[in-house]
Structures are given as C-alpha cells and as structure tokens.
Symmetry: C5
Subunit: 304 residues, 5 copies
C-alpha cells in the first residue's frame, strides 16, 4: 500500500507512482486512437451513424450512479479488512496484557514467551492463509520444530494455533495457577480472536457478486467506446481529448474499485499486511520486554 | 455462487457464464425487435407520437437513483446473510474450542464427539430450514437414529438442537464436571447462536417490501419500452442499439438485485451455503482431530 | 404484510394487489384529467404560460435525490423495526433455554410453565402497546386473573412483566435454587429485553421529523401538477401519458415511504407483528414440549 | 418536537404549523421580489447578462447531491441523539430492575427510593447540561438539600451522580448485602450509562465541521439569487414562480438540516427531551410502585 | 477546530474565518484569471476549440457523484475519530469509577491518585503519538521521573501505560485487596481501552487509498480548467463568474474532504484533541475531588 504525504495541490496533478494510470494507460491509449480514427473517418465510414450527446448524458449519469454503488461496496470491504486487522492488533495486545496481569507468570518466564510466540505465529499464519502463501519459514521463527511440522498438514492453521493457546490456559487452570473466572476472561478474548479469523476468511472467500462486476465492467467499456460517436459531430477534433478525459474517470474508478475490493491481495492499493504483521510482532515483543528481531530493526516497524 | 478470478479486462467483455445475460436476453431480444418495429413504422403508424429525449433524460436519472436504492438494500441483505453464516462458523468454532479447553473431556472422548456432532447437525438443519429442503439424510449422518427421528416432527430444528447442546452442558454441571462460571461462558455462546439462527430466519422471512419491488419492476420495463419513441427521431436506425444497451443496464441491475435479495436461495449469485456448511463441518472435525468424511474429501472444502 | 413469490417478469407488470396503485390511483386520475385539460386549453387559457422542460429536468433530479434520502430513512426504520422483533424472538428463546438449562426446574414443572407464560404475555403486551390496541384478552390466555387484572392499570405493561420475570428469578435465588452467577446470566438477557422494548418504543414514538415529510410531500405534488405546463409544448397529446407515468413513480415512492416509515402499524406493507407474535409463541411452546393452542393450529404459524 | 398524524394527502399541502415555511418565508419573499425586479428590468439593466439554463442544471444537480450529503449527516446526528436517549431509558430501567431483583432491598425501602431518585436526578441533570440550562429546581425534587447543594458547584453533574450510585452499591457490598458478582453486574450497566452520558456530550460538543455548513449555506443562497438570470430569457414572467419553487426546496432543506443537526436544542424539530425525561421519570416510578408527581399527572407522559 | 454559533443566514454569507476560502482562494484566483484570458482571446487564439456545455454537464454530475463518495468516506473517518475520543472519555471515566467503587481504596489515597495519574498520562501519550509530537513535558506532569524516563524509549507509549494500570491491579489482587471477579471487571474496561488505542492507530495509519485521492484531485482541477472552453460561447463575459462559482464548490469540497480525512491533525477543521484531552483531565480530577491544574483553570475546559 502506497502512503505519501499530501503534496502541493499543483504538483499532485503530475504524480505518476501510486496512481491508477500505469494500469489503465494502455486502454486509454487504445480508446484515444480509436476516437482519432472516428474523427478522421467521420465523413467517410461513419457519416451515417446518427448519434448525439442526449442518450450519453442520460446513460453516463446512470452509469456514474451504479459505479458509485460499486465503489462504496468495494471501499467498505477494504475498510472492513482494515478494521479486522486493527482488531487483531487490539485483541492480541489484550491477550498479552491478560497473560501478564491475570496469570501468575512473570514477564520473562518461559510460559509468557511461549504464549506470546503462539500469538505472533497465529498472526503470521493468518496472513499467509489469506494470501495463499507458504507460512513455513515464518512459523519456524516462533514455534518449536514439532509444532511447526504438525501445522504443515493443517488446513485452518490460525484456528489450530488458537486451540493451542486455549490448551496452555487449560493446563494453567488444571495446575491451579488461574481460577475459573480468569480462564473465562481469557476465553472471551479467544472468542473475539475467533471472530476476527472467521471475518477475514469471510471477506477473502466472498467477493462482490460476480454479475455485478461483469455488468459494470462491460457497461463502462462499451460506453466509453460508443462515446466518440455521440460527440464527434459537436466536438470535432476535441473529441479524443474529451472522450479520453471522461473515460479516464470511469475506467479509473472501475479499476480502483476492482483493486481494493480484495484488500488482502498484493496490489499497490491493498492493505499493508506485512507492515501490520510486523507492527503486531513488535508491540507484543515490546510489551514483554523482548528485543526486536533483525528483520524489524532493519525495515522499521512503526505504521503510525 | 460463481467465483472466478478476474480475467483480462478485454476478455471479461465477452464472458457469458456467471453473467445476468442468459436470464434477461429474451427480454432484451423482445425489446430490440420492438424497437426495430418502431423505427420501421416511424413514418407510418407512429408518425403522430410527439416524444423527445427530454422527459426520458429526467426520468432515466430518477429511475437510476431509485434502482440504486434497491440495489443497496438487496446487497445489504446479501452481505448480512453472509455475515450471519460467517458468524455461524466463528461461533461453532468457539463452542468447540470451549468444549475442548473449558470442560475436562478429552479431544477423543465420546462427549466431545457427541457435542461436535450436534453442532454440525445444527448447521445442516439450519441450511435445510432456510432452503425449505428435507434435512433427513444429513441429520442421520451426525445424530443417532432416535434423535434424528424425534427431530423429524419438529418445526424449529436448529433451536431444538441448540437445546440439546444446552442439555449436555446442564448434565455436565450436574455431574460436577464444570462449574457455574464455565457453564455461563458456554451459555453466552449459545446466546450468540440463538441470535444467528433467528437472524437467518428474519432475513429469509422478511423480503424487501413487495410494493417497492413491484413499482421498480414496472417502471423499469415501462421505461424501456417507451424509450424507442423518445429517441427514434434523433437516433434513427441506431435507436435499437442504444435502447437495448441502456435497457441492458437497467433491466440487468433490477434482475441482479432481485436475485441476491434472497441470499439463501439456489440461484447462481446466491450464497454458497453448501460450501460454507462443508467448511464448518471440516474445521470442526479438524479441531477435534477426526478424519474428513468422504463427501468432503471428494469435493474439496476450502472456501478461502 | 404481503408476501408473494416472484412471478414471471411479464405478469408482474399487471399485478394489482400489494401494489401502491390502489392508494394513489385517485390522485393520478386527478392529475391525468388536469393534464388533459392543460393540453386541451393550451392555445386558449394557457397560451401565455412560458414554461419548458429545462427547469423541470433540473428540479426533477434534485427531487429524486431528496426522495431517495427519504426512502432510505423510511426503509431503515422498517428494517430496524424488523430487527427489534427478530431480537425479541432470539432473546425470548435464549431466556427459555436458560430457564431449561441453568435452573434446576424440569421442562414440565409449574415454574417453567409460569416463566414461559410470562414471556409470551410480554410479547403480546408489547404488540398491543405499539399498536395502541387492548391487550386484555391476549393477556388472560397466559396470565392468571390476578396478574392480568393488575396489569390493566399499568402504563408500561411489558416492563412490568419483565419485572415479574426478574422477581421469579430473585425468588429462585433466595430459595437457593440458582446461584449468583446464574442469576446474573439471566439478568444480562433481561437487559437485552429491556433494550428491545425501549427500542420499539423509541421507533414508535419518534417519526421522521415532520418538516421533512411535509416539504417532500408538498414538493412532489406541486412538481407533478406543474409538469404538464413544462411539457405540453413539446409532447402535445402525449403529455398526459408521460406526466402520469413520471408522477406514478414520484407519488408512489412518497406513498410507500410514508407507509413503511411506521413499521408497527396495520397498513399492507407494515411488519406482520401478528405472525411474528404467533411464531414466538409457538417456538417457546415447542421448546418446552407444550401443545400448540388452537388459534395457532388453525392459522399456521411458520413465518420462514 | 411536533408530532401530528398523517393527514389527508390534499390537506397536507396547506399545513403551516410544523413546516419550515415560517422560518424561510422572509428569505423566499426577498428572492421573489428580486426575481420580479430581474424580470422587470430584463431589457433594461440586465440586458447584457448572457446566462442560460445549462450551467444551472449542471450546478443545481451537483448542489442537490452535496445537500443530500449534508442532510444525511444531520439526520444521522438527530437519530443518534434519539438512540442515546432511548438507551438512557433502557439503561435506567435495567438498573432499577437490577436494584429490585439483585439486591435484597424491598420495593418500598428507603434504599430503593434513594437509588431511583438518583437515577431520575441524573436524567434531569443530563438534560440541563445538554441544553445549558439550570438544573437547580429539578434536582431539589429528587435529591436531599445537601447533595443538591454539593452538585451546584460541579461541572459534570451526571458523572458525579453516577458516582453516587456506585458509592451506594459499594456500601451495600461492604455491608455484605450483595456479593462481588452482583456488584459487577450493576457495574456493567453503569459502564453503559457512562457511554450514554459521554455520547450525548460528544454529540453536543462536536457539530458538523463548520466549513461544510458555511460552504453549503453560501452556495445555496448564491445559487438561488443567480437563478433568475439563468431562466429569465426562457421563462419570462413565470421566472419568479419557478425560481421561488426551486429555492423553497433548496433553502428549506438546508434550513431543516441546520435545525435537526443539534438534536438537543429547543427548536421545533429538535428532540422532545422534556417528554422523554418525564417518560423515564414515570416508568421508574411505576416500576417501584410510587405515585406519579403532579407535573406528570397534569401534562400526561406517554410518549408512545 | 472552529466552533461558532449559527449566525444570521445573511451574515453567514460573508464569513471569512473558518471557511475553506483562505486555502483555495489563490487557486480560484488563478482559474478566474485563466478564464478571463480565455474570454479575451476567444476569437483569437481559441477560436478553433469546438467545445460546448453538453459534455461538461454529463461529466460535472458524474464528478459530483464521485466527490460525494469521497466526502462521505472522509466525514466517516472524522466522525469515527471523534467517536474514538468520546469512547476514551467514557472508558477512562468508567475505569476511574471502578477504582473508586470496586476497590477498597479511598478517593484521596495514594493508590487512587496514582491510578488516575496513569489514566491522564495515557490520554496525553495517545494524543502525542497520533500527532507525532513529543510527549515528554506532559508525561512528567503526571508520572514520577523514573516512569517518565522509562517511557521515553518506548514506541507504543499508551500500551505500556495500560500495562502499568494492569500491573497496579495485579498487585492489588495479589495483596488480596480485590478478588478475581473484580479484577476481571477492570480487565474488560482495559480491553475497551486497548480497542480505542488500536482504533486511533488504525485511523491514523491507514488513509483513504491514495489512488482515489489522486484521481479525484486531478479530475476536479482538470475539469475546472476545461470549463471555460465549454461555456465561453454561450456565457461570454459571464464565464469567469460562473466558472469560478462552480469551481468554488468542487474545489472547496475536495479541499474540505482532504482536511477532515485525517482527523487527528492540526488543521482548522481537525478534531480539537487539546480540548478533549483537557476535558478528560478535568473530569477525572473532579471525580476524585482534586483541584484543577493551572493550565485548565486558565483556558477553561468545558467542551459542551
């Protein structure tokens, strides 16, 4: 995900990186050339095509309305994804704080270390599950070899890791280190964790209904390639400029909506899961007074 | 529910499957032919009809606004349905985790097996209730014959199954296996389960007010069949193309809104309840270390 | 509330029942005749009125936007009302389940029967309070004569019935049948019940600000009766058709918004409180294994 | 807040009271006279002003969209204010019910009376804080002189009263009348009360960003006073009628949005805090079997 | 953040301070001069540019729709930021109330003072973290030198301060001053605090996707600088007035959306974090009967 400070209003007009232009430029170029051809052959090939701006005004506004609906739905998904990963930060912090203050274990005890390691491994496992990448290496950093190996055969890795957190607490209860009341307090934050994991899976597995996307995609492009015929009579040689400008917005909006709709992907405007993961890792380590690992010290980890 | 990877922007223009076109094509064809007739008989039958694009522009935009409202309402229902089934996944996982970590029963004890079986049966029962299909066969897989038989006479099957979960916990409490605090922790997740079941019933039983649908349906079609008269003078033989293109969007949007409005149905864009059910089944079995049944191993179960 | 299966797209165009037409037809007829008069006297009485479609296009779209806002607000109220009654179903089920599994009383004990009866009476009392109808007869079905009589003098009947539920639980606590932890678990669901009752009262007592409704109502009708003058020059004898068609949508949308805005009323598109009440009644009776009363057996009770 | 039954659709067109007209009529009259002057001097003073409807159509629709955004934001604030006061009703009822059923005190004990009195005083104190009026007299009705006097120096009166509720419960705990579990159950409802009080303060202290209001206000009036020039050529003597009609909606909508934006004020469309306060007072008194005070018996208190 | 009483509708038209004008005036002046040049050289340099209002109407409305989407997203962020700081007020009050009523410590004990000081320091630390300013001085006011020094090396200061609150409670539990049930009640409000801190970090670290902003920014300015060519033929010397007026709204809306989008900043329309911080400080001090510090007495602290 690209983050830049707001620049001067004038300079912002010429920014290339982080813009949707690189993606849609070829299509716009094609449309531009097509429009030039329409203008050139106007009195020739196309002289019989009786089109004028009226239906395009009506249709363009209707299309903008439907695109607005699509954008809102996509942005809501983006923001829900961000909220879920924000909740993951909050909830792992809460579980860490509970382990420090509700259990009798010290900050540097091996139990605390193991609990925190499970939490961090869970976050990595969730990231890899959502991106369909291999969790292997990252899990070995925070889990012992046996557990990491056992997880490699498992489909829902974060859920199984959550079960391991619960098992640690059950053991503490059975040893009499914590009472039922405390165990249940942990359990409520595990419930929240379950909701977060499931929420991410829901978002990743259920896109916006495909027909919506298909229909809007088709309508946007068909509309843009019909536009030249509607304006060529009145705008003459300005037609390519105006048509490309209008298409830039319609096509661009559709392209952005398409990109942020799957917030867990790897496209430029998707959520910065790597940074958030590192941020969770570092805040949990800081809470328990452990040193930052190299890969964080190198890249920096502060998101805010 | 159809899920496809986003294809190349150009190829997407020609996709047939998963599009709303198969459904609305006959209507569009009818409209196309009707428009051709209007163009053909323009100077003949219809020469006296004094219509022009002005009222159609005004009305088309108003119609697009009202359709936008309908789409938002339908999509919200679709997404609420998905959230409810996502919550069902989360809550059944939480109940399973609680049974593993708050009760003294082992992962492979007969109590755990019975508890998990009740949870899976409940999910199947809910799916069948919402689709008004027969739960019989699926219930026999996870319930003993007596319980399955007893359920066949019952109207609200998932509720009765939830009561059986509660009864198991009451028994554990009476045997002294769990204390009051733990019982209440389970009870709170049963409350959530009750909210999910009732939420699904609410969505399934209360459609968008029928008058809304009726009025929009009527207005959309009446509008499309009046369009040719408004544009025939200025667009001449291009009228059928333009009218059909505009109608494609209006009629298509109305058709999609109609389809996703009842998310628990069996139309192509409805929720994939079968897959979600299998996913819940497999994650609960994995959590308790039980083998996957054949019907899952065959079809695969990973939604994400 | 009218519920029908979606019919064939073509037949839906001619449905009368459940449509808003019966309500607005007289007004549309009046407008139609008025427009005919405007067309007829165009060169006579009105020949000096210099109006054209331009201001009506601008204004019609603005009006559609404001109507869209009104519709969203009305529909949100409708859906919030439905959610509250859905929550009432969920919460009464949860309280019933708690009484069965957290208290020592058997399913057919007189305590269970009394508790369930109080719950059902509360639902009836709420329905009558929201509709300002007399709860008398319905309360006598599930309460003993003394309690029913005592309630007749009370203003907030559901609240007092909720207090009686709480009093039963206090007694059980004082007898030592349940402990503090369990009592508090019930208490949390009583809190939810309190929120539901108060939520319904809020919705019923606070309409959309009256000025909004007044302004939109006035603007819609004034707009429709000015429309003929704007289009008579260009549309000639088609003016009545076009004006009535446009008015159908504007007037119709306003009328529907007006109807669903008070979801607890008795108009055709209001919430089916009678059916939902019967559904709650029957599910609570089924949970405790009691037979369905006659009035349910007769009319059927399944909403889903 | 004005509440009236929906009248006949025809009579609603002529209602004066409760309409926004009284407020904006002078401005509309000014605009009407200005437009008459523009028409009258058209060929004289203004004959050189080259304006036509095109930019006004474009701009009017954009303006309607931005006004729609403002209306939604204002209405959301209105409805959030109403929800907060609805939650106040629910939560005070819940606290009263808890005091009756979780504590050992009888309904007519002096402890119950004192607790309920504190709750009612808190509601009055919140109303006065939000309206910046003097709480003095109302507090003396339900508090002893000492407490009332002590409160007069306090800035956040409802918070201090909430602390007094908590102190009563702490005392009961220290006397052994209630146990820790019960104390915490009360405490959770005090948390909710804290959220409600703070929510009201947030709404009252943070208006919609002032620049938004300023810009829309300015644009609406500038637009309306430029309108005559755009339409005078085509509409001639009808210009004042059409311009005033369009302005009625734009100016009216802006005025309503301005009014309901601060829902705790004293304008006609603000929330009926006096009635809601009396309703809470009466329902709490009814729950504890106390007689209604005179000021309620006189004015009636039923909101529903 | 600027707060002013609503002034007379007429005087509001001429307000300068608190308006977006100071910011965008240079750009509007540039556009005005550019438009004057276009008008002046119309028959000269630009006589061949064939543009008319039609495409600008279509495009202007589409642009207004997309700007509406951007405004809603920005305003939602602003309001979410405000809600988070409102929740911070509520939650710190709740924690203070719990310390007063659930723990055995007196209002003026050194434990209470230390607990409240930690809460206030946490609020200051959060404000400084969000604004990337130095928390140093403010922390020394409420923390002993050691703790303040220790914090200076820490990245997530509010989280570490929350841990210190938890550590105080753990100590009280270990001394037997509070029981498990009470400890867990505190813990739930610490969970909420964790959610608030993380929510603020999420809002501050994740802006609206940069491409959205870039595209809208570009489109708005490009549109405004093309407008003169579209209207110069029909509006002649009025073009600069009309174009600047339309641009004022489009450019102004974009500028406001840009400003409130980051609600924790220091621009005129951002949230008044300083005032809210002082308000929390003063309400917590009032709750525990401590005198107001000088910096509050001087500037006043009442937000409501």
């Amino acid at each position: 995900m690209i983050q830049r400070k707001n620049e001067n209003w004038f300079r912002m007009l010429f920014i290339w990186q982080g813009s949707v232009l690189p993606k849609i430029l070829p299509r716009l170029a094609l449309l531009f050339m097509f429009t030039v051809a329409v203008v050139y052959f106007k009195n020739d090939l196309f002289y019989k095509i009786p089109l004028n701006p009226a239906p395009f005004t009506l249709f363009g506004i209707a299309l903008a309305l439907f695109l607005g609906f699509r954008n809102t739905a996509s942005y809501d998904r983006f923001w829900e994804g961000r909220k879920l990963w924000g909740a993951l930060l909050n909830d792992t912090r809460s579980l860490a704080r509970q382990f420090l203050s509700l259990s009798p274990y010290e900050r540097d005890s091996k139990e605390t270390t193991a609990f925190i390691n499970l939490l961090i491994a869970l976050v990595y496992a969730l990231k890899h599950q959502l991106r369909k990448t291999d969790a292997g290496t990252d899990l070995y950093k925070y889990l012992d070899a046996n557990t990491a190996l056992e997880l490699s055969d498992v489909h829902f890795k974060p859920v199984i890791l959550m079960n391991k957190l619960a098992a640690m607490l059950k053991e503490a209860r059975q040893k009499g280190e914590i009472d039922s009341i405390t165990l249940v307090a942990f359990d409520q934050n595990l419930d929240k964790l379950s909701d977060i994991i499931g929420g991410c899976e829901r978002l990743a597995s259920t896109p916006i209904p495909y027909t919506y996307k298909l229909m809007l995609h088709r309508t946007v492009y068909l509309y843009c390639f019909l536009l030249p015929f509607g304006f060529v009579d009145s705008l003459a040689w300005m037609t390519p400029v105006v048509v490309t400008f209008i298409a830039y917005t319609f096509v661009g909006f559709e392209a952005i909506a398409d990109e942020i709709e799957e917030p867990f992907g790897l496209e430029p405007n998707d959520l910065p899961l790597d940074t958030i993961t590192r941020m969770i890792e570092s805040t949990l380590l800081e809470m328990t007074g452990r040193p930052m690992p190299e890969h964080i010290a190198e890249t920096g980890f502060i998101l805010t």
